[in-house]
Amino acid sequence: MNFDLDENQELFKAAVERFCQGQDVAARRAARALPGGIDRARWKELAELGLIGLAAGEDDGGMGGSHGDLAVVAQALGHAQAVEPWLECGFIPARLLAGSAHLEGVIAGETIAAFAFAEPGRRFVLEASGVKARGGKLSGTKQFVLAGGAADIFVVTAEEDGKTALYVVDAKAPEVEVRPYPVADGGVAAIVTFHDAVAEGPLTVDLGAVIDEARLMAAAEMVGIAQRLFADTLEYIKTREQFGQPIGRFQVLQHRMVDAYARVESVQSAILRALLKPGAPMAAIKAHVAENAIWVGHQAVQLHGGMGMSDELGIGHGLKRIVLLSKLFGDPASDILDYARAA
């Protein structure tokens, strides 16, 4: 039994930490303010570190990283509060585009691909119905397309012969209408409407398997953020003085931090279980991580007081990213209900 990171995993973690060094609130805000909410130069840099290629198979020109390797990257990005949408535009497209000619550009950081899976009024349902594929063309509307305002291509779920198929569409095609809108984590999502847009596909990947992997990565990122918020809050209550002493001397805050510590350890263990136990239920584990990470996020804001509310601190940014990830491909309540029914 051994829970240590291996040599490569230590290198990936260090690469992420170097990449994110100095990325403070001001730098993050500047990146978010760019068209589509993404700094393309930084994105290319991330790709050159091999962090996108890690998610693609060796046959496809990637590095064929294990789930463990990839979770280390996701967690480190969460801990560093990176604004780069590695999960949305790196990991997920690299998985979905296995065997596709578009993969090379995605791995190189030259093509920004966004996954269009959500449909208006259908909540977390993954089966496509509003967007239809007919004769190699797509029509219909997707929403909550994360990083949709910056995308060069969309990977789209579409109904074809009563099944859900995956197609690739050029985001700049005249038959594709993109309406960007801001979302909780500061990113730019989009409503995307296809008007008989020419599509390549269908892709042959197992969509359900990729969604489960994405849930694992979302959970790993939430663990990283929760650890960061916990560490920042611990530091803060040791230094913030009120009533003539550091507020960390007050027993009520000490106990609260112990509860937070217990939850942070629980979610770290949950991720390890997801990685090491074959067949672990990813959606349910993500739900467990999400509920605890949100609690830690709320406490981080509360214990920072007014400062925790301010956009000038990373505390709120962390909470907002957790809240967004907590609902990606299903929210905790629906995932736990599914898990209970399956058990």
Binding site: A118, P120, G121, R122, R123, F124, V125, Q143, F144, R179, Y181, P182, V183, A184, A189, I191, E241, Q242, F243, G244, I247, F250, V252, L253, H298, V301, Q302, G305, G306, G308, M309, S310, D311, E312, I315, G316, H317, L319, K320, V323, L324, K327, D331, A333, S334, L337
Partner: protein
């Protein structure tokens, strides 16, 4: 034992309902319904304030001789309840509910004559200078210095979380006039004009993307010595009066119940999932039911306080629970609203306001667009006006005798 209003109070309720029905126009209703933050912007509140002032129903917590309507505690409760149910805009309470009653109680006849009419007319817009970077929960640690020089005070220092300071032309502040005595005793309550070179306001944008609060800086700012309320060193007593005055009667539950009614309507009409309307989702419907039960019980707690006040008796110790209960309930209700809307609940508009022609486009429904800003803004409920932790310590000491 009964929970009924008297025939006179019921008649008053009817009058209030008719008034609100007549006066709350579409613009006011829209502005109030689509404000996700604690405070409503002046473009909405000024209009509503003028309507209430004309009727004489504005300064409800002031004595009659200073311009109050002379209502009983029950009438005040009924008015606030009906306003909440009707969806009336909130009012600029910093003048009307905070500094107003202080001036009524501690002010000289000159101060009353000078300031009170201008609060009612809306000519003066007030903000509050309490917290400082080093004095949050520990309010008595304020450092902002006011020195008497001739017939004026010269003020230096800074205040933080000054709500609507960017709209205000006056600030009431806790300032240190005597640094040599025990910390509570060196504090004074001073009124300072904002429109002068020595005062500057810098915005603090919150994680909800709204601009309600600011940092306010005093660099040799001046105010006539006549603008001291009470005496030097009396500031802490006045600050406590202000808080206790606020905690007198409360009417928070009706607004919470009205919000739950709205959420139920959204769950039936505006949010859907795999099984149709989200009201059929067991997680949503159970949370809605639990919150409703708690808010209904809380409503009775507030009525128990009201019953004591109506009999002329001091409010009971339940008063201490009001802020704690209402802020926690609010946060849970706001979380429910976010969860109701699935991915649509994750949109977070960057600009304000969310009403009128300038409102940004929404995804799904307008209610969905409001949910994330309200949830994030509402994380402050358990922080401002005495954090949950401070409230619990006070209750443990003063109510439970621990």
């Amino acid at each position: 034992m009964d929970m009924d209003f008297s025939p006179e109070d019921l008649a008053f309720q009817k009058e209030v309902r008719a008034f609100l029905d007549d006066k709350l126009n579409a613009r006011l209703r829209e502005g109030a319904a689509n404000t996700p933050s604690v405070f409503t912007e002046p473009d909405i509140t000024r209009e509503w304030q003028a309507i209430l002032a004309e009727k004489g129903w504005l300064a409800t917590s002031w004595p009659v001789e200073d311009g109050g309507p002379g209502w009983t505690p029950t009438q005040k409760y009924i008015f606030e309840k009906e306003c909440a149910i009707a969806g009336a805009p909130s009012l600029p309470i910093l003048g009307l509910r905070l500094v107003g009653p202080v001036i009524c109680h501690f002010g000289t006849p000159e101060q009353k004559a000078r300031f009170l009419p201008r609060i009612i007319s809306g000519e003066d817009y007030w903000c509050q200078g309490y917290s400082e970077p080093g004095a949050g929960s520990d309010l008595a640690a304020v450092k902002t210095r006011a020195e008497r020089v001739g017939d004026k005070y010269v003020v230096n220092g800074s205040k933080i979380w000054t709500t609507h300071a960017h709209h205000a032309n006056w600030i009431f502040a806790l300032v240190r006039t005597d640094p040599t005595v025990q910390k509570q005793r060196g504090i004074s309550f001073l009124l300072i004009p904002m429109e002068q070179p020595g005062v500057s306001v810098s915005p603090i944008v919150t994680m909800a993307n709204d601009h309600e609060v600011n940092a306010t800086f005093f660099d040799n700012a001046e105010t006539p010595a006549d603008n001291l309320i009470g005496e030097e060193g009396q500031g802490w007593t006045i600050a406590k009066f202000l808080l206790e005055n606020e905690r007198g009667g409360s009417c928070a539950a009706p607004a919470l119940l009205a919000k739950l009614d709205r959420i139920e309507r959204w769950a039936r009409e505006e949010a859907s999932g795999t099984n149709g309307a989200m009201i059929h989702d067991p997680n949503i419907s159970q949370r809605l039911a639990r919150l409703r039960l708690e808010a209904q019980a809380f409503e009775v707690t507030e009525l128990r306080i009201l019953a004591e006040l109506a009999k002329g008796r001091p409010a009971g110790p339940q008063t201490s629970l009001v802020k704690l209960t209402s802020s926690n309930l609010r946060q849970q209700i706001d979380e429910l609203a976010v969860d109701l809307f699935g991915y649509d609940g994750l949109q977070l508009p960057v600009t304000r306001p969310l009403y009128g022609n300038e409102a940004p486009e929404f995804v799904g429904s307008r209610a969905a667009q409001l949910s994330m800003p309200a949830y994030l803004n509402g994380r402050a409920y358990t922080i401002f006006g005495g954090s949950d932790e401070v409230q619990k310590t006070i209750i443990a000491k003063q109510v439970l005798g621990l």
